[in-house]
């Protein structure tokens, strides 16, 4: 857990004092990622760097796991906080292994243990240790370097990590890949992370919580969904963008809105039976599945009504299916691409898991507004 308590930073400049952080108070629960988001010069990086004292604080307190960090000396504090920066900062004079082992070595680990840890961490980000341990940073691509930058910060297994626009310098395609990898790692490692970003899409994707900064103050500190659905003020609304509701599509998975009770029938089942199910369910279509319960097609109610054929015989091919884990943005995109109001959703094994319809998507997005109104 990281707790900031009235954290304040005043820079003395020749033009008078500048307040970079103004009584910032917030708490990041253990194992969560908190994104500090805002335009440049809003104080988000200052707030971050005060935590590991790269910038000395003017007043306020910082507590990590309940302990006031003022009691620790700089070096002790920093060695127990993972730190990742945008420029990566791998030491070009050291091999990848030496880079990863920097903090373990500072902490006086046995070198054998540190080396083993370096190899494990490389494995974790899908870089072959045999190939990469002896390499120098300049021999790696930008994406590979940033992966090493992240695992270097994880080397001594610190409970807390600070990340200053860690994926900012990577091309968009690689950034998505590394973000996904990082989220996967985080789901196992459960670090408490402060993450500076200026990219709302990154914030929505990576954050459990988002803190929006302006002029050294937090304008809103909330879950990504609430920031997008209920911006606290005009500034936040403008910052997250006019298409903020579309951004919320990424926060919901297809499985969450899929109607698992939607009519479904085996290929050998009677079409009339399917029609009965559709009538009962108020649906216009029924999904037809094969023996393994994989969706293979669909039948329309008007065709199934009174038909004596098997469902498989009058079925139309499915335009597309979506994975239950896919986010709604991908689902809606598929719907638009195939000019359809609904899609069949499948689980990891490819079995039918329900149907996702456009009204269901709209309903899911609107839920939060109805709740707010009711309250």
């Amino acid at each position: 857990m990281i707790r900031l308590d009235k954290l304040t930073k005043i820079f003395e400049t020749p033009n008078g004092p500048v307040v970079a952080a103004d009584k910032v108070s917030m708490e990041v629960p253990k194992g969560e990622i908190c994104i500090l988001l805002g335009p440049s010069g809003c104080g988000k990086t200052t707030a971050l760097k005060m935590i590991n004292r790269l910038i000395p604080l003017t007043s306020g307190r910082i507590l990590i796991d309940g302990q006031d960090t003022a009691k620790l000396n700089d070096v002790e504090l920093r060695r127990n906080i993972g730190y990742v920066i945008q420029q990566i900062g791998l030491f070009p004079n050291m091999t990848i292994e030496e880079n990863i082992c920097v903090v373990p070595k500072l902490l006086g680990w046995d070198m054998k243990k540190a080396r083993k840890r370096a190899a494990e961490l490389l494995d974790l980000v899908a870089l072959d240790p045999n190939h990469f341990l002896r390499r120098y940073p300049k021999e790696l691509s930008g994406g590979q370097q940033q992966r090493v930058g992240v695992i270097r910060a994880l080397a001594a297994d610190p409970p807390v990590m600070l990340m200053d626009e860690p994926f900012g310098a990577i091309d968009p395609i690689n950034r998505e890949v590394i973000q996904d990898e990082f989220l996967k790692m985080q789901s196992e490692l459960k670090k408490t992370i402060m993450f500076v970003s200026h990219d709302i899409d990154e914030a929505v994707k990576m954050g459990d919580k988002i803190a929006i900064f302006r002029a050294g103050k937090i304008e809103q500190y909330d879950s990504p969904d609430n920031v997008l659905a209920h911006p606290a003020n005009r500034f936040v609304a403008d910052f997250v963008g006019a298409d903020r509701t579309l951004k919320r599509l990424r926060l919901i998975s297809a499985g969450e809105v899929a109607d698992a009770a939607a009519p479904v029938i085996g290929a050998h089942g009677k079409a009339s039976e399917a029609a009965a199910m559709m009538r009962e369910h108020g649906a216009a279509v029924a999904v037809v599945t094969d023996a393994d319960h994989h969706p293979v097609g669909y039948v329309r109610i008007e065709e199934a009504e009174g038909s004596g054929a098997a469902a498989g015989e009058i079925a139309h091919p499915l335009p597309a299916t979506v994975a239950a884990g896919a986010d709604l943005r991908a689902v809606v995109s598929e719907m638009f691409a195939h000019d359809t109001m609904w899609l069949a959703c499948v689980d990891e094994t490819g079995r039918f898991a329900g149907t996702v319809t456009q009204p269901a998507v709209t309903r899911a997005l609107g839920e939060t507004y109805r709740q707010a109104q009711a309250a």
């Binding site: 590991n52 790269l54 700089d74 070096v75 002790e76 504090l77 920093r78 060695r79 127990n80 906080i81 730190y83 920066i85 420029q87 990566i88 900062g89 791998l90 030491f91 070009p92 004079n93 050291m94 091999t95 920097v102 903090v103 500072l106 120098y136 940073p137 300049k138 270097r152 910060a153 600070l162």
Partner: protein
């Protein structure tokens, strides 16, 4: 293109061979060999001067360069460097002459003059090399919990080493080339054969001094070049 290259390749050993034949035939080799004892004695003197003044310049120049690059010196370092830069513009012969007016004649003023002449490139390159280490490397190192001395030793110096070495290489090249002038202020060395040879218009004597000086310069440059190649870490060495 390929053909001309081959021709040049063949021409070099041929020309060397022809030059060797001519030198042997003209009796110059015998004339130089006549000074063999002097050559051995003076070369030793010469090398002691180079090693002592060059070594002292390295031992002083690198720490001074490091000291100037520290954040606490930020406000004064540029002024100090200006003084060093002005120092560089003074011709080495003048430095030697000035050193004689201060310290008289003999080994001491020669040592001092050569030391000053080789100090400047070392300080300048050490200072510039350390300042050129990217700020984000130092930030990463600090953020990871390295102490300032550890950062200097494990991050800053290794990353500046190539530039530092270039400074040492320049300094030693200047040093070896200037050492013959030491003779003028009684510092000894191979300058004795060269300057006396000029005065007596004795080509053999002149060459007996000049050839070893040239060979020494080439050897020293080769050795520093090799250490630059081998000692600078692979990741920051453009030669590897």
């Amino acid at each position: 293109m390929r053909k001309t290259l081959d021709l040049t390749k063949a021409a070099v050993p041929l020309a060397t061979f022809a030059l060797g034949l001519w030198v042997a035939a003209s009796g110059l080799l015998d004339q130089i060999a006549a000074y063999w004892e002097d050559i051995v004695y003076l070369t030793e003197q010469h090398m002691v001067l180079v090693a002592a003044s060059g070594g002292a310049a390295i031992l002083v120049g690198i720490p001074v360069g490091i000291w100037l690059s520290r954040p606490s010196m930020e406000r004064y370092a540029e002024y100090v460097m200006q003084v060093f830069n002005i120092g560089t513009t003074i011709p080495t012969l003048a430095v030697i002459a000035l050193s004689m007016t201060l310290l008289g004649i003999g080994f001491a003023p020669a040592f001092f003059g050569l030391f000053v002449a080789s100090l400047l490139p070392i300080v300048r390159n050490t200072y510039a090399g350390l300042l050129a280490v990217p700020a984000h490397l130092k930030e990463a190192a600090t953020g990871m919990g390295m102490r300032p001395l550890v950062i200097l030793w494990r991050v800053e110096l290794p990353n500046a080493l190539y530039v530092v070495f270039s400074g040492v290489r320049t300094a030693l090249a200047i040093n070896v080339g200037t050492t013959p002038l030491a003779f003028l202020i009684g510092g000894g060395g191979l300058g004795e054969l060269i300057f006396t040879g000029i005065d007596l218009m004795d080509t053999g004597m002149l060459l007996a001094g000049a050839v070893p000086v040239a060979m020494l310069a080439v050897t020293v440059d080769f050795l520093t070049g090799q250490s630059q190649l081998r000692l600078v870490p692979k990741g920051v060495n453009p030669l590897r």
